[in-house]
């Protein structure tokens, strides 16, 4: 089956991202495809490359990035939600005249159309959030 995932909450504060990750991992292990994970609302915070968790804790951002790179999962961050929360990639940082960028290269920013498209193209869209 082809799954798409929507993550609506930030890392560490909330379990959503962890549960979504475990779901994705389990689905892939069972031979399913996870075509896209879309990060919306505070979920966009899962994409910051500047995350520094304590050494004995899981690294939520790197874990997503590794899953994406290993299994070809398209990790998409909503551009509007990201911008209002201070998450920018290099292009957006330049365009907005900001002196830094913080989006992990395994993620890409795009529009909400990518979420709707994921709903159309996948067999199941599974939402994780409050």
């Amino acid at each position: 089956m082809k799954f798409a995932i929507l993550v609506n909450e930030g890392p560490y504060q909330h379990q959503s991202s962890d549960t979504a990750f475990k779901f994705a991992q389990a689905a892939i292990a069972k031979g399913h495809e996870v075509s896209r994970v879309f990060f919306y609302h505070d979920g966009v915070n899962n994409a910051t490359r500047l995350t520094v968790p304590p050494v004995d804790d899981r690294h939520v951002v790197n874990r997503w990035a590794e899953l994406g790179e290993k299994h070809g999962v398209d990790l998409v961050v909503c551009i509007a939600a990201a911008q209002r929360r201070g998450l920018l990639d290099d292009n957006e940082a330049k365009r907005q005249g900001k002196d830094a960028n913080n989006i992990h290269p395994a993620f890409r920013i795009s529009g909400l159309g990518q979420l709707v498209e994921a709903g159309i193209q996948s067999d199941r869209l599974v939402t994780f959030g409050d």
């Binding site: 929507l6 909400l112 159309g113 709707v116 709903g119 959030g129």
Partner: protein
Amino acid sequence: MSDEMDMDEGGTIKKFMFVNRKAPYGSIYALEALEVVLISAAFEQDVSMAFVDDGVYQLMKNINSEGTEIKNFSKTYRALEGYDIEKLYVEQESLEARGLTEDNLIVDVTVLPAAEMGKLMAEQDVVISH
């Protein structure tokens, strides 16, 4: 909007339901959920919206958000019709529990008991809940 507006979906039309469960102010879920609904209109899908729990407050008449410094987005619900999003369902129990009736709402809706709402959700291809 650029690449995300790729309409090449092979003419697939799915039943999308956006479920709104949160009050309009106090968190950003309602405002950002509306953004997804508006984008979905561009994909020519069969879109409906459901309002349950505190989500029914999103449709209240006479909201004044001035003191919150958050823009009042009540008029966006009225504009949905212009995007051909006309199927708005409100859960009867949620209205009653909050002392509200259809007369308190700014748009025409279909009020359904929870059991009927459940059936309607079961008929959907994609349910996105905020």
